[in-house]
């Protein structure tokens, strides 16, 4: 690398960054698929809220949710990875990934509640703020990871830093066990990050 002049180095870094950004952008879904997924999710929400299977109800619901999904198609589908068929992917997310996530998070939440109970009674705390790395680069994935970290035992996200290739999380740990970044990352994140990589980029 020392043979490359300094003024070329910046250009090369810039080109690399742009290629990386393009590769991330190309993983996004096209617009009609985003609209379709939003419509599907809002339709499920409408059926749950209105709690009736009459044809008038279904007709009104489909019209209303179609208009809302045309207006707000980018709100929670903007960062879903595009790979494979849409229908298969949606069904897999609904039937496989979301129950899996709920199953993992329910037990982690119970464990974290019991841990807070233990800390509140014995006051054996050793707090500190540590920094961990993450492989997720999209906003939604990082947000769900941070919210899950807040609900898992003993940790709470203070801030996230999202740059193009590296995203970091600052985590307040109520009982600091290790200062090493990789070890702390694997202890804090657990298997949630692996799960989130299935859906978000």
């Amino acid at each position: 690398m020392s043979r490359i002049p300094l003024y070329l180095k910046e250009r090369i870094e810039e080109v690399n960054k742009r290629a990386l950004l393009d590769s991330f952008e190309s993983q996004k879904l096209p617009r009609w698929e985003k609209t379709a997924i939003t419509w599907f999710a809002l339709m499920i929400f409408w059926m749950v809220v209105s709690a009736s299977f009459h044809w008038q109800n279904i007709l009104i619901g489909s019209i209303v949710t179609f208009i809302v999904s045309l207006l707000m198609y980018d709100m929670f589908t903007g960062d879903i990875q595009s790979s494979g068929n849409v229908v298969i992917k949606t069904l897999r997310i609904l039937l496989l990934y979301i129950p899996q996530y709920i199953f993992i998070m329910a037990f982690r939440l119970l464990e974290s509640n019991l841990k807070v109970m233990k800390h509140a009674i014995f006051l054996d705390i050793n707090p500190g703020i540590v920094k961990i790395d993450s492989d997720l680069h999209s906003q939604t994935g990082l947000t769900i990871l941070a919210n899950s970290i807040t609900l898992t035992p003993g940790t709470m996200t203070i801030d996230t830093v999202r740059k193009l290739d590296e995203s970091k999380l600052y985590v307040h740990w109520i009982d600091v066990e290790t200062m090493d970044r990789d070890k702390a990352g694997s202890m804090i994140k657990g298997d949630i990050e692996e799960w989130l990589k299935n859906i978000f980029w």
């Binding site: 749950v48 939440l109 800390h119 707090p127 919210n147 807040t150 709470m156 307040h172």
Partner: protein, 104 residues
């Protein structure tokens, strides 16, 4: 029978959260207690209500929307309060503070 277990668990978790808020030393550790015990207690009371409610299945599912919104918004609010406290200069107690060392 099982609904009483969930209801009792929820009440115990809420009480523990309030004890934690009173006993922990600074803002960040108190937020730990309030966030987790609030979310867990509210969700377990909601599960108990779902079992108890005398309604068709389709109406019982409505409780899950409350649970979804609580689980979505509660961690976000804890994060916003913690970040705001750190930005306005509340020093966290403890052995290490990388967030302040990185210049935020």
């Amino acid at each position: 029978m099982i609904e009483y277990v969930f209801l009792l668990l929820g009440v115990i978790l809420m009480i523990t959260g309030s004890i934690g808020v009173l006993r922990f030393p600074d803002v960040y550790t108190r937020l730990h207690a309030s966030t987790k015990c609030d979310t867990g207690g509210a969700m377990s009371i909601l599960i108990a209500l779902t079992i108890v409610a005398e309604a068709p299945m389709l109406i019982k599912v409505k409780f899950l929307i409350l649970a979804f919104l609580i689980a979505m918004i509660n961690p976000m609010i804890a994060h916003a309060i913690a970040r705001g406290a750190h930005k306005s200069g509340v020093e966290p107690e403890g052995i290490i503070d990388i967030y302040a060392r990185d210049g935020f």
